[in-house]
């Protein structure tokens, strides 16, 4: 395969724990987040939101609000919604069926928090005072709160969707797998439930939109994972020429899928921007974020696995049902189908099938969240432990017998996914080695003898990264070596904590033989950088590496040619290192990159034949494969207090294979963050509603995030199996959030197994654990 290579000579920066470029400004409070953007005459927006889960909108009266000094405007649906020219996402395409997406609610409100009006005032304090004065006349309707009974409900969340079915899809029919299940030695069936939870980025959503009427230009400062999606979507939305829309994303404090697409509030602010006399800023507060930014992970499935008498998997099936809320990100069916397709995971499963149903409910709409399909790992890993116990096999042994190993690849799974260059069994054994499995089992047995419950859980998964499909399949870079010799790399960005400013300068410094101090990157400005899809789908590492490889190779050749010409040496004898070109063997006699650049720009006549003037290049990498597969195993040990149900995590170990690592510190940071989010989902986080659809966890007092006091120091093992793309790098961003919940659940299940408890529901709150113990017949106080 003719992929360009990434390094000029000996790798110096890639692979090293280089300190982050971003840290100097972020850790000293000098980042520029959207709320730091202040524009002359800037105005502030605040939404009037529905207090009811479902109601007919009888009227919205802004008169009292408009009378409050400092209020500039109050917009309702009739003011903004008709101005929509086109509303569809570039990443999905115009043809993707779109669930309804009115900027402001019209006709009906469909969840508590549904935006009904937009107040614009001189500051946020006045705007909130004005929101309290907008008179909302709502006629309550019976809400559909529980998605599990939505299909049978006589009430519809959206008129156009009978049975509240957002969509359905299936693989092969159940009858086709019946013989495999009927003849199997062991069949285990369970229904696994996961609660609604969501990404909680440290920085909530927000944007500043400034319309400059004279030139007809819109500038948007956005907290986003994809500046280019905001630009393209926004230009279409408002019917503006695209080149007159500029989107700037400086620092973004976390995205995790919540900031991949402009949402309804963003649409409202963009639509209102041309109607107010100054830049319009909307900053979501934490309560709004928990109420309205979206929910994820709310789903359940009935799963069945069949084992032969040796404990080998013969078949697996998942019938999966998902809550998509009232206004989900498009398109739920596509995202939901991934659960069924990936369900067989990193195991040898000859036959598998799935079905998926997405159901609307009068709750906040479903949004993407780090590994949006991760329920496939939750369901599979939890049921594998149950199946093992039912068959009288150690869950560790069951994994050993069924995990794919590197030597048997390529392997095409039952869903048609072709896996290569992955190491499921290897990471499993590696993680257990780091744990000292035998040592833990002895510790567990000793504890049991004194009435203490210790447990061990594992989870192994395989994840698609860096897809080559559609909107996400290419990545561009422009590298300008300035006349001064400074190296500036322009890439689309979209970083919200992904360390892209650091990894890209490491890669470019290696590719051009520069001192890393001479390399700078400019990201997050659609007026300045090439198009890029942004962050998401664990794509940035491999795609940036590819873009750098495509772009730097030609530049490196030109640098070498100019140096060879000026040093009167053969190009093969030129070495690039530390921003200097020298002849091999005589390092003292050489030229700095600054000298070479000066010649390229100011003395083009002195260049060798065939070498163009200047030192700038643009390139675009095309990812060939549908996915670059990455894998990992998470191992968790815990203690459960049988009197209180409290869970203490003892050790947390991840052995991951994302191929070679551009920066091990960045990789570990990604794993840590995802794992903590997964621990939160297993034990603490729950976006709950009461029976009337009122949210119960709208502040961080009730929506419980794990803190450092709840999480052990995470231990990392790195296996490095290169992928076929430039540098061999694979994506790693989402894995922690996929692998963690089942590892934690399985650890608790292992601790409780001797009491006859089977765990099938998240989150494992202390009350839930005590109830499980009581149900299994145990659980008097000691």
């Amino acid at each position: 395969m003719d992929q360009p290579t990434l390094t000029a000579g000996t790798t110096r920066y890639a692979g090293a724990r280089i300190a982050r470029v971003e840290d100097a400004r972020l850790l000293t409070g000098h980042g520029t987040f959207v709320d730091d953007v202040v524009r002359p005459g800037m105005l502030h927006a605040c939404f009037v939101r529905s207090p009811m889960a479902r109601a007919r909108i009888v009227g919205v009266d802004p008169a009292a609000a408009l009378g409050l000094p400092g209020v500039v405007a109050v917009f309702v649906a009739a003011d903004l919604n008709p101005d929509v020219h086109e509303s569809w996402y570039t990443s999905m395409g115009a043809a993707m069926p779109d669930p309804p997406k009115p900027p402001l609610a019209e006709g009906e409100v469909r969840f508590v928090g549904d935006p009904v009006a937009l107040v614009v005032a001189v500051d946020r304090y006045v705007a909130e005072d004005a929101v309290d004065l907008v008179a909302l006349d709502l006629d309550p309707l019976p809400p559909v709160v529980d998605y599990r009974t939505a299909r049978e409900s006589e009430h519809l969340v959206h008129e156009a969707y009978p049975g509240n079915v957002a969509g359905e899809i299936g693989g092969m029919p159940a009858e086709m797998l019946a013989p495999a299940f009927d003849s199997a030695a062991h069949v285990t069936s369970a229904t696994i439930h996961q609660q609604a939870y969501l990404p909680v980025p440290m920085e909530t959503r927000g944007l500043v939109a400034e319309w400059e009427a004279a030139g007809g230009e819109l500038t948007v400062w956005a907290s986003t994972q994809s500046p280019h999606e905001v630009r393209m979507f926004g230009a279409r939305l408002l019917g503006l020429p695209e080149h007159r829309v500029r989107v700037i994303a400086r620092d973004t404090g976390g995205g995790f899928g919540q900031k991949v697409l402009p949402m309804r509030e963003d649409m409202c602010v963009l639509l209102a921007a041309r109607k107010v006399p100054g830049a319009l800023k909307w900053i979501e507060d934490r309560r709004e974020n928990l109420l309205t930014a979206g929910q994820s992970r709310h789903e359940h499935a009935t799963v069945r696995v069949a084992l032969d008498e040796d404990g080998a998997l013969v078949a697996a099936e998942i019938d999966h049902v998902q809550d998509v809320g009232a206004y989900p990100m498009p398109w739920p069916v596509h995202a939901g189908a991934a659960v069924g397709v990936f369900f067989p995971g990193a195991y040898r499963v000859p036959k598998a099938r799935f079905s998926y149903t997405g159901l609307y409910s009068n709750t906040v709409g479903r949004t993407a969240y780090r590994g949006p399909w991760q329920f496939e790992s939750v369901a599979r890993e939890v049921v594998l432990d149950i199946a093992a116990r039912q068959a009288g096999i150690d869950p560790i042994e069951l994994r050993r017998r069924n995990l794919l190993r590197h030597g048997e690849l390529p392997y095409t799974n039952a869903s048609g996914m072709a896996y290569s260059d992955v190491t499921p069994l290897e990471t499993f054994e590696h993680a257990l080695g780091l744990l000292d499995l035998d040592g833990f089992r002895r510790q567990q047995a000793d504890a049991r003898a004194t009435g203490r419950l210790l447990g061990l859980g594992t989870s192994s998964y395989i994840e698609p990264t860096a897809t080559g499909m559609g909107f996400y399949g290419t990545e561009g870079a422009t590298i300008r070596i300035e006349p001064s010799g400074a190296v500036n790399v322009y890439v689309a960005g979209g970083s919200c904590g992904n360390s892209l400013e650091t990894t890209v300068v490491q890669l470019v410094a290696d590719a051009l033989g520069c001192d890393i101090a001479d390399v700078n990157t400019i990201q997050g400005d659609t007026a300045v950088t090439p198009f890029g899809a942004g962050t998401g789908g664990s794509r940035s590492g491999p795609m940036l590496a590819g873009a750098v490889a495509e772009t730097a190779a030609g530049l490196r050749d030109r640098i070498v040619a100019i140096a060879a010409h000026k040093l009167e040496a053969a190009p093969d004898d030129i070495e690039l290192a530390d921003s200097r070109a020298s002849v091999r063997g005589t390092p003292a006699a050489g030229l700095s990159l600054a000298d070479i650049a000066a010649a390229a720009y100011f003395e083009p006549a002195s260049l060798p034949d065939g070498v163009p003037p200047g030192l700038e290049a643009s390139g675009r990498y095309h990812a060939r494969a549908m996915s670059v597969w990455a894998n990992a195993t998470h191992v968790c040990t815990c203690e459960v207090d049988p009197e209180t149900g409290l869970v203490t995590l003892l050790r947390y170990i991840v052995s991951e294979d994302c191929g070679p690592m551009i920066n091990p510190a960045v990789v570990e940071g990604q794993i840590a963050g995802g794992s903590v989010q997964g621990i939160g989902g297993a034990l603490y986080e729950h976006l709950a509603y009461d029976a009337e659809g009122n949210p119960l966890s709208s502040t961080l007092m009730d929506y419980l995030l794990p803190t450092i006091a709840e999480v052990p120091v995470i231990e990392y093992g790195h296996v490095e199996t290169p992928a076929p793309n430039p540098g061999g790098y694979k994506g790693v961003g989402e894995g922690g959030a996929i692998g963690a919940p089942p590892a934690v659940v399985n650890a608790v299940a292992d601790a409780l197994a001797p009491l006859g408890v089977t765990v099938t529901q998240l989150p494992l709150s202390p009350a839930a654990i005590l109830a499980l113990i009581a149900e299994a017949g145990g659980g008097a106080a000691s």
């Binding site: 909130e128 209180t644 149900g645 803190t707 709150s765 202390p766 106080a781």
Partner: protein, 291 residues
């Protein structure tokens, strides 16, 4: 969210403070550490036209060992109590409850008086005041009156302090003789409000029999609670003859309005409430017997 508009006042003497409160009526609220009030104002769960900030009021801060008691100014921060050797020696139950209050940042601002006057049923200090029969001093334009802890907590987030009054000091008895003191609670995460908790003070006579006992419960009702049935069951028995598990059951058997919410149903709170009584009792007795 941003709070609704309010007027801010910063009196410097207790007299000035209660004059303001009396003049401003029920639209005014005392601001001390702000660790409970400010979030409520920001979320607009509570709206007050006037905030009377008492952080600059003289004479309501400080820890004073007197004869058989410790008197602590209502404006004393929880952090100061946590650091105080006098409190550690003379009122160990208060000292041991303090690190369980939120996180150290909260304790740097939060005050003894604020915690008692806010009267969150899941807070530690109200239960400690109850268990030790503390006495609270309340100032108004008419002068100072004293209220026993047992009469102070009158309902959910409601105390004996009227709208025109200011809590100025709390006096805790010092237990002489062989005593043991422990606080135990169950919370979802480090620093969270307790789902249920107990503070236990036990005194033993020369023969090791229980001659004094105070059990305060928090998180188990709309107000902090004593456990009189459990206390009288233990009274007079040899410490070793008291079954901690039975004691816990006795303390929680007759609880009427146990909270039920997203974090825990009522029966969970009742069960672990009993566990916290048992655990606190064991530790307190161990200390009393050792001392």
């Amino acid at each position: 969210m941003k709070p609704a508009p309010f007027e801010y006042h910063a009196p410097t003497t207790p007299a000035e403070a209660v004059d303001l409160l009396s003049g401003l009526g029920d639209g005014a609220k005392v601001l001390a550490g702000g660790q409970s009030l400010v979030p409520m104002l920001a979320l607009r769960l509570a709206v007050f036209e006037h905030l009377v900030d008492v952080r600059r009021v003289e004479g309501i801060r400080g820890i004073e060992r007197q004869n058989g008691t410790v008197r602590i100014g209502a404006g004393t921060t929880q952090a100061a109590i946590e650091r105080s050797p006098e409190v550690a020696a003379a009122v160990p139950l208060l000292a041991r409850a303090t690190p369980l209050i939120g996180h150290f940042q909260i304790r740097n601002r939060g005050t003894l008086g604020g915690s008692l006057a806010h009267a969150d049923p899941a807070a530690e200090y109200p239960a400690v005041a109850l268990a030790l029969d503390a006495e609270l001093e309340i100032l108004s334009a008419q002068g100072t009156r004293r209220v026993r802890a047992g009469d102070f907590f009158t309902g959910l987030w409601t105390t004996a302090v009227a709208d025109d009054e200011l809590l100025t000091a709390v006096t805790f008895p010092v237990w002489a003789g062989r005593g043991g003191f422990a606080v135990d609670e169950v919370a979802r995460r480090h620093g969270d409000f307790a789902l249920a908790g107990a503070c236990v003070a036990v005194g033993l006579d020369g023969e090791g029999r229980v001659d004094r006992c105070g059990i305060g419960l928090f998180g188990l009702g709309p107000v902090p609670l004593r456990a009189p049935a459990a206390e009288s069951a233990a009274w007079g028995l040899a410490a070793g003859d008291v079954d901690p598990v039975e004691l816990g059951r006795a303390a929680t058997a007759d609880l009427a309005e146990v909270p039920d919410d997203l974090h825990a149903p009522a029966d969970y709170r009742r069960r672990v409430g009993a566990v916290t009584v048992a655990r606190a009792w064991r530790r307190a007795v161990e200390e009393a017997q050792g001392g």
